[in-house]
Symmetry: C2
DNA sequence: TTGAAAGCGTTACCAC
DNA sequence: GTGGTAACGCTTTCAA
């Protein structure tokens, strides 16, 4: 059986309260007592019971991270940073997968495993504003991605700006037939919308007429989905001069299809992505992308969450992290 | 303030125990009572307090998953499957990152956050047998990867067999100068050792003399590490006819370097990996790899863990999941 | 600076 | 089938 505060207290000849004081370090304890208690803890291999602590003071030291698809490289990079940052704040991270299901997203946000986790970092895909009624009491939560919920804290990239900048970068070599890959039809995805908007704004600024044919639909933002969508496009259309893929994962699929079709990148088609995944410099050819710091996002998200936990009802706040274009071989 | 069993009981005119019975469904409850209680729960938006439940019955419904590096695509695929399988067993997953630190691995395994999680799935890199003394009482734990701990449950692939099979596959076209990428020098990594062993066994079977020069050292199993190691090799050696990379991530780095060096794959060098990541079919060229089911691993790991939780002290068990060679363009 | 007692929300045990 | 009571391990009063 595992040792409890009582066991430690008995062995150290103190009261349970004193043991607690030593463990938590809030109240000063005399060095001699502290020494005795610490020795007793070591001897009994004492580990605090987090359930009991959580029950007593309403905090578990656990936060939940909910992402639509955990299997992607992007999720991995984000999870990694959030776990690391949370660890630095002595928080553990519990993982949830929402699978693009708005119902599941909403459920987490409202009911939550409300009493197991202190707060929630959520990357919703299809959660729309109206779902969260203003009256509801929400758990401390931070939304990742496009800012659409002004009721909750949010952290996101400037998707419109990034899309505009990368579209302009693709146009630099004089290319004007610029396509995008990743427009969503069946899902109401804010990220796809904002990136489309940035693309269109760039076209307007460049004086390039908008051609709806060049907005390639792809509901699955994975290499397989991107490959299938682009392959379908090439069956009925001339290749574009440039292609902006809404994520690097989509771009990998695109590069694969272009290589198979005997089209050279960037000779025939310049290709760019968004996210700048860790492996994008090692794509063939190395992929130009819109980069932003996952660490930065993680830090802001955890910080905002802790602020909310400490001060419920503080007004919601939005943070936008900056992006940067990384030019590599895929755009020449 | 959040509703408790007492609030629900009062509203439904029953005792707290009855509410508990309804929630847990172990003891039969009359339909009428059940109806009243469920209505009261809905009305009060009742959510059970997991800390209290955990304190009371010694189970939290949380398991920990500890991986060396969460940022890799492989981790993402594994995490995804384990979270899904655990979810099916009504378990939540808490994530830990060990960063190849044996100290951290050992700490998790022995002390653990012992009272917050019911069990632990651990993918150790450098944990050696001797670290875990036979006398220690360990929490329920399952080790992922090479079977080296016969004190604990384990789930792994047949790394030796996979490495041998892929080496033989690389030799099929008559190639005899076959190199490997991913041998570890600074880390005592079981996976690297077993894959090296499989490679050497295949060479012996094929009658190909062993050349230590062709065992390329690379301590970092990422595209960047693989690229750097292979680039260094090519500076002082002729290119091999075939290259077995110990993971697909390493292979991505290798493909990138070979393309930059103007070497064709598979024309000049056939390349194969291990893991068969989701994006490997979309590498340029599509990557041949040793495949195994992450889902299978997840199912076995969670199953073994649950068995242990239900029956502490049952003798440790080892599971080996099968592999399969997936031939793609990178080997012709 | 330390001790005693109460209570967090839940469920197991035992009565009815 | 249902209700009381006690206990899980911890921390927060309040006293000394």
């Amino acid at each position: 059986m595992r040792a409890t505060v009582k066991d430690v207290a008995r062995l150290a000849n103190v009261s349970p309260k004193t043991v607690s004081n030593v463990v938590n370090g809030t109240v000063p304890v005399s060095p001699a007592t502290r020494e005795r208690v610490e020795q007793a803890m070591a001897q009994l291999d004492y580990v605090p019971n987090f359930s009991a602590r959580g029950l007593r003071n309403g905090r578990t030291g656990l936060i939940a991270l909910a992402l639509p698809d955990l299997a992607t490289p992007f999720s991995a990079e984000l999870v990694h940073e959030i776990v690391e940052v949370a660890h630095g704040e002595r928080l553990a991270v519990q993982l949830e997968e929402t699978g693009n299901d708005p119902q599941r997203e909403l459920e987490l946000l409202t009911r939550a495993r409300a009493n197991l986790v202190d707060g929630l970092i959520l990357n919703p895909v299809a959660l729309d504003q109206s779902a969260v009624a203003p009256g509801m009491t929400l758990p401390p939560a931070v939304i990742l991605g496009e800012v659409q919920q002004d009721i909750v804290d949010g952290v996101g990239v400037d998707s419109v700006g990034g899309a505009r900048a990368i579209t302009r970068a693709l146009a630099e070599g004089g290319r004007r037939r610029i396509a995008i890959l990743g427009v969503m039809r069946h899902v109401d995805a804010a990220t796809a919308e904002t990136r489309t908007r940035g693309y269109r704004e760039a076209l307007a600024e460049l004086g390039i007429p908008w051609d709806p044919e060049l907005e390639i639909v792809c509901d699955e933002w994975q290499p397989a989905g991107g490959a299938a969508a682009l392959a379908g496009f090439l069956e009925t259309h001339e290749p574009p001069e440039a292609l902006f893929c809404f994520t690097d994962s989509l771009a990998y699929g695109a590069l694969s299809v272009l290589a198979a079709a005997g089209l050279s990148v960037p000779g025939d088609v310049a290709v760019a992505g968004f996210d700048d995944l860790a492996m994008s410099p090692y794509a063939v050819p190395a992929l130009t992308s819109v980069a932003f710091s996952r660490r930065h996002i993680a830090e802001e998200a955890v910080r905002l969450l802790l602020e909310q936990i400490d001060d419920r009802g503080r007004p919601p706040r939005q943070v936008v992290v900056p992006f940067e274009i990384r030019r590599r071989a895929s755009t020449g």
